[in-house]
């Protein structure tokens, strides 16, 4: 089944749960395990929170866009903001690096460890696009891993 969704929402904290819910519901339609869905929720939560907190500096006027579609063997999720952007993407992605004193710098670490692919595109003053890819485990693959 070819399914594609696009969710645009005001960048407020309450909508982070909405983004998680939408992705969990979409992943539930596909062949993901419960543990895969948990990991997808964390990765999406990190990316959307970053757009709100960093991209728009927690000023609730920005719009965040979440696009998701599945091809044969994976779910692709794009989180887009038109916020302040990231000057040094490599530095931003380093574990424990954060520009906010009271944050942990673990967002990108979680996205990286939970997803099969992570891509960050950003331009200062223009905004940031994070692309998350999660492979749908084939039934054979799931059988094998549960036998291990």
């Amino acid at each position: 089944m070819d399914n594609k969704i696009r969710l645009e929402f005001t960048g407020i904290g309450e909508n982070v749960a909405l983004a998680r819910l939408v992705v969990a519901s979409l992943a539930g339609q596909l062949n993901f395990t419960l543990s895969d869905i948990e990991e997808l929720k964390v990765a999406v939560s990190e990316a959307v929170s970053n757009s709100i907190i960093h991209g728009y500096n927690a000023v609730p006027s920005g719009i965040v866009i979440l696009e998701a579609w599945s091809d044969i063997d994976s779910l692709v999720i794009k989180i887009v903001d038109m916020g302040k952007g990231i000057a040094d993407i490599q530095k931003a992605m380093e574990p424990a690096y954060s520009t906010e004193p009271d944050r942990m710098g673990l967002g990108f670490v979680f996205m990286q460890s939970f997803m099969d692919d992570l891509q960050v595109d950003s331009e200062p003053g223009k905004g940031t696009t994070v692309t998350l890819v999660k492979k749908i485990s084939t039934d054979a693959g799931r059988l094998n891993s549960s036998q291990n």
Partner: protein, 114 residues
Amino acid sequence: MSLEKKYHRDTLVIKIAGEFDMVTAEEFRRLVDPELDRRQIRNLVINLGGVSFIDSSGLGVIIGRYKKLSQSGGKLWIAAARPPVRKILELSGLQKIIQFYESEKQALEAVREA
């Protein structure tokens, strides 16, 4: 999401239910920080039994309170985290610096014995 607080002498117990994300983290901070500042709290027990989801914002506010308490000689204890939540806490290395307990009761016993 819900936050409950109660006291046992110099111990503050916070029980959280729901999803521990940036919204909950902010409410947690607003509830707990005035207590840590005003009262002589030496132990903060966080009961995560009702938490179904946590991300780095939730994690961050826990570690922030750990640091705050450490500065004043206090301690932080974590109770009842369910497997998916525990997985996230462990991924961050939190169990190296903070004690995890199966239940709030066990955490409070450990506080008493400490």
